[in-house]
């Protein structure tokens, strides 16, 4: 039986409010590709990925056509390469193999050129982190992440220091520092995140799986305009839950269908609200719809806390397995409302840091002045890692110290990556703090047993 109103609502969400599936990400274990000879290792990696993901893009396109919903990205995540390349010693051939496999399968990004170093670094981890400037400047589609902290292990401050230095080096060898947008530094990284650049297929995952990331900030905002304008927060939360449920059900349907057609187990649906720089696809504008003149003004953290919680409450019942990052994303350059707020000075790095306490991920896609010292970037990473560690949540830093640029300039990333106004950072030094090295011990929260 036809319910015309429901059908037209769905059609409207897709056509006018930019409802889409943000990504279908195939997670592939590469543990079996380890080999002492780097050439053999690279060949095994390429062969395995191109075989497993041969039909990924085609099936994604089929689903788009049959269900009439855009699937913006088809991507691959793999076992952290530091584990796979440990025997070979040199991780760079793996980076080139990943890039070639991504091109062959037609995915736009492949994630997992990664190291998990929250408690210490193996020689392979060190080699991988040191190789990042070359790996990210000589490949096109490879994405990388380093997990430097966890609630259980504390913060590896040696790794934090290295990451700050490496970010500066990547910025120096890629145009406008854009290679930095392919590196995420995590605390409490999750093993089944489908979103780039931080996706990897954790060592606790199975052989291969399909993870789906949903989207839909535009749908949430429009629904609030229609149903909850001027109403108390109880009504706002209810309305967001209802919308999140509908969005997630579509994600679950696509995930199940992709898994069946590819004959690969379904992993998780990630309940994240992922914005794009397009008008009407902004998380910041949802916060502003709640009554804030500009995202970043007082009240922003509370509004985001409500949004993040309501998205999870609405989404969790709509999917059989929820995972990944599952929360609202606040990448500055990828959200038109965030760009405007940062450009007019309403949104500061400090307010963004507060916001990361109550939502998914962290300081994401933020351009800072090119002359920001490595130690300041490391200290920003340490602050975010501490927030994640103490609050039992994932946090991350993806900053771009754009060479030659300063506050007032813009960095243009293009396409879905948008544009980032260069934001001011503290002029005071964290040099001596970062020079200490060692480990910040795991907090009391880690002693749960």
């Amino acid at each position: 039986m036809l319910n015309t109103a429901e059908i037209l609502q769905t059609v409207h969400m897709i056509a006018e409010e930019k409802l889409d599936i943000r990504t279908i990400t195939m997670g592939i274990s590469l543990l079996e590709c380890a080999h002492p000879d780097p050439v053999q290792m690279a060949r095994r990696i390429y062969d395995r990925i191109t075989k497993k993901a041969e039909r990924l893009v085609r099936v994604g396109e089929e689903l788009e056509r049959e269900y009439g919903i855009p699937i913006v990205n088809k991507r691959i995540s793999v076992t952290p390469i530091a584990l796979v390349a440990a025997a070979a010693g040199d991780p760079l051939p793996a980076a080139r193999a990943l890039d070639a496999a991504a091109k062959e399968t037609g995915v736009n990004f492949i994630g997992g050129y990664s190291a998990l170093v929250q408690k210490g670094m193996t020689p392979a981890d060190l080699a991988l982190i040191r190789s990042l400037p070359e790996a990210l400047s000589t490949t096109e589609r490879v994405c990388s992440s380093v997990n430097v902290a966890s609630t259980r292990a504390g913060i590896d401050m040696d790794a934090v220091r290295m990451c700050g230095e490496v970010i500066k080096q990547i910025a120096a060898v890629t145009p406008d520092g854009m290679g930095c947008m392919k590196l995420v530094v995590f605390s409490n990284a999750v093993e089944d995140n489908p979103f780039m650049a931080g996706a990897f297929h954790g060592p606790g995952e199975g052989d291969c799986c399909i993870n789906v990331g949903i989207s839909g900030p535009g749908v949430v905002k429009r629904s609030l305009e229609i149903s909850a304008r001027g109403k108390p927060f109880d009504a706002v939360a209810e309305d967001i839950k209802r919308t999140a449920f509908k969005i997630t059900r579509v994600g679950q349907l696509i995930a199940r269908e992709a898994s069946a057609r590819l004959d690969v187990p379904f992993g998780i649906v990630d309940l994240s609200l992922a914005p794009t720089p397009a008008m009407g696809d902004s998380v910041a504008h949802i916060l502003e719809e709640m009554g804030l003149e500009k995202c970043g003004c007082p009240g922003t953290t509370a509004a985001l806390a409500l949004l993040n919680d309501a998205v999870k409450k609405g989404g969790v019942m709509a999917s059989s397995h929820v995972g990944g990052l599952s929360g609202a994303f606040i990448p500055v350059s990828e959200d038109i409302g965030m760009i405007e707020a940062a450009a007019c000075g309403a949104l500061s790095l400090e307010e963004l840091e507060a916001m990361t306490c109550v939502c998914s991920v962290g300081l994401d896609m933020i351009a800072v002045p090119g002359d920001t010292p490595a130690s300041t970037i490391s200290a920003i990473i340490a602050d975010e890692a501490a927030i994640g560690m103490v609050n039992n949540k994932t946090t991350a830093v993806r900053v771009i110290p754009a060479p030659g640029k300063t506050v007032g300039d813009d960095v243009e990333f293009g396409g879905l990556f948008g544009r980032a106004p260069v934001m001011p950072v503290s002029r005071y030094s964290s040099e001596a703090f970062i020079a200490r090295g060692g480990r910040i011990p795991a907090p009391l929260q880690s002693l749960k047993n």
């Binding site: 609502q9 056509a15 049959e66 679950q252």
Partner: protein
């Protein structure tokens, strides 16, 4: 929710645009050519905007060819025509 998707083999065709003569006839003709059987139609015209929703059985049709044919028709008659498997509406609106 863990079972394999239940294949209903029905799709929903949505037609939205400025009203003019022959829209239903043109859409129906394409559906017939492509072996898709119309099961239900709901149609309204509100302030000159034509809205039609059709439920069609696509079990005997080639979905890709049908979608292409409807896209070609969309270009020809100047209204928006969408075809989507009906599971997306069930998923979104019914528990």
């Amino acid at each position: 929710m863990d079972q394999q998707p239940h294949k209903k083999n029905t799709a929903v065709v949505t037609v939205i645009g400025r009203d003019h003569t022959g829209i239903i006839a043109a859409v129906s003709a394409v559906l017939t050519e492509q072996n898709a059987n119309i099961q239900d139609i709901a149609q309204t015209v509100l302030t000159d905007v034509f809205n039609m929703v059709m439920l069609v059985d696509v079990s005997k049709a080639d979905f890709g060819a049908l979608a292409d044919a409807l896209r070609a028709l969309q270009e020809r008659i100047g209204v928006q025509i969408l075809i989507q498997r009906s599971e997306i509406f069930d998923a979104m609106h019914h528990i």
